[in-house]
Symmetry: C2
Subunit: 365 residues, 2 copies
């Protein structure tokens, strides 16, 4: 829900330019369509046609319009345009995660590359909205509702986040990263998402470790308030139904948290011979701890990660065996879904997508 006073967007910053300019360059206000039309000796409509690629314009008229545009340095006013077209050609990418994670976990860098490329292909501007505190949610919802963008891609992993519900109530095309599991979500809700087969991936990890003959298998999970973490653990347990609770330690997708979890596991079970870690970044940290504690990988302890980001998995020592999901592709798919949703009713409604995961074997397991 939008807090009422939130509209007053704080200090009004720009003072109106005094008509009688004081000092400095006389605030040449940007040229308008009208100005271009006058210079080119045609009507506004013709200029508009040239700008928007309407071919029903005589070549010489078009040429003089273009000349006028260049001469004046004219750039269309987007506010005016989108007021009538109801389109902005921009898409918001909303990330409701602490900045620490966004700028450190390569997951985001990778998926944004996919998103960015796909958006560019569609001629859409990539607008990234970062949320710092809880306060920001209002301001972002206002931004989205205010018509700045044609649609939104939402990255909000915590189940109890208020943002998803706020966004779905907005009548703005939106696609989520990961399966929805926030409180007010109903199975029937027509929420679009792109998900990886986290459960299947967790199961694959467990089977692989078992096939290696490991018997004391532990796992370091992500935060249990995120669907992806829950699903990975669920799949893992599908194959290891008798897994003791003491072999499961929850961490927070950070290096630091994973290191702590690894220490804890080693303390509890000095004889463990395998660990499934819910992200590559955390697996890298676990490897460091294992080495430091004198365990050889994979001889003493086999390690399987999750993500399959080459930049991370190939550079650990030993290189990391991991459950791979095509993250960049997930980004592209989110954009595909969104553009279909924007195209709107009348077209067949696009469907959410779950992409497969697969084991990529390197040396750690």
């Amino acid at each position: 829900m939008l807090s009422r006073s939130a509209w007053r967007s704080g200090a009004r910053l720009r003072k109106r330019r005094p008509e009688t300019s004081t000092v400095g360059p006389p605030a040449r206000s940007r040229p308008t369509l009208e100005a271009v039309a006058t210079v080119a000796g045609v009507s506004r409509a013709t200029v508009s046609r040239v700008i928007n690629g309407d071919h029903r314009v005589r070549a010489d008229a078009a040429a003089s319009v273009r000349a006028a545009i260049d001469q004046l340095g004219y750039v269309p006013n987007q506010a005016a345009r989108s007021l009538v077209t109801r389109r902005t050609d921009a898409v918001a990418v909303v990330v409701a995660e602490p900045q620490e994670r966004v700028f450190i976990d390569p997951f985001f860098g990778t998926i944004f590359r996919g998103v960015g490329k796909a958006l560019a292909e569609h001629g859409l501007q990539f607008v990234l909205l970062l949320l710092e505190g809880t306060t920001d949610r209002d301001s972002v919802v206002r931004y989205l509702a205010g018509g700045h963008v044609d649609g939104a891609l939402i990255f909000s992993l915590k189940s109890d986040d208020a943002l998803p519900a706020a966004v779905t109530g907005l009548d703005l095309p939106a696609v989520f990263s990961g399966r929805p599991d926030w409180p007010r979500h109903q199975a029937g809700d027509d929420v679009l998402f792109v998900n990886a087969d986290n459960r299947g991936g967790g199961a694959t990890a467990a089977r692989h470790l078992q096939s290696l003959g490991r018997s004391k298998i532990a796992t370091i999970t992500g935060p249990m308030d995120q669907a992806a973490s829950v699903d990975r653990l669920l799949g893992f347990r599908d194959e290891l139904p008798h897994l003791a609770d003491s072999l499961i330690v929850e961490a927070d997708f950070s290096r630091h948290g994973a290191a702590r979890a690894m220490h804890l596991l080693l303390e509890r079970h000095p004889d463990l011979d395998a660990v499934f870690v819910a992200s590559d970044l955390m697996a890298a940290a676990a490897l460091d701890v294992l080495r430091e504690q004198g365990r050889r990988v994979p001889d003493d302890v086999a390690v399987v990660g999750f993500d399959g980001i080459a930049a991370v998995a190939e550079r650990t020592s030993p290189p990391l065996t991991t459950i791979h999901q095509d993250i960049e592709k997930m980004g592209r798919l989110m954009v595909d879904l969104l553009t279909q949703a924007i195209t709107g009713p009348g077209e067949p409604r696009p469907e959410s997508i779950t992409i497969p995961t697969r084991l990529v074997r390197r040396l750690s397991a």
Copy 2:
């Protein structure tokens, strides 16, 4: 220069909603001011006043307006508003760097935290624009020129980037990160920037290493097409005027590049006893190489980094002695400058800022 056809922003995505709704929820178009006014039984002007915090409205009128707003779920259309106010209450943060760097080097995460907080305090929306290839420059310039934002913060470290010149030609308030050194820049240009005293920091590093009694001092620099890298080296040489070229290796601010540079230095000068590395991230990589090559730090080789990001410098082994710049503060200062510039002519013109750097001693030197 804006390529002419660039305005045609690609596929027109949204088909106009058929007035005669087909299936699904009838595309309830967003309520307008007019609708709120009707429900509240007042005029548009009064509703507008309530929304914008104008106090010259009777309490009961204001109350019924607010009730109508809640009932209808009304949110102002920003395009319409900014068409008349000529303000958007949004600021673009433009990053002309490869995404790899943005999402890995903690410099960006840190400075964005400062920027984000300061913008929020001013009631301004943070809009991050990421540039992938060169193609994107047009699209970003169009976005900035199109009136989507009130100002821009530009992070573009490469000297030969076309973006800064394009932006300064735009009559849009802008503040740059780092001193300007792009080709068309003239000393007289009134470009606003926030810079760290990179040259002073480089000199401090050199003096510190000398004070430790080191005599074979090398350096791993950042890319020489970036002012910050050049300045750090300049300062370093100020104190070490006879530094041999073979003791200088250029890297690219990446871990990988720094590791390669460190190997190269060790090969050339197995007897080196100190290294100044132009970023903490690179210094961390250099430490790894040194350890791996059997050098003790700081006993055999002293290492000084640059940035002073605690999250990096405190977690290396040994913890990193580094030249500290208050990155988060730089972010805040950029916003301060920008808001002053947006306030516009009439006010005293703000001045660019260079913040000091200082040595923070830990164990590596």
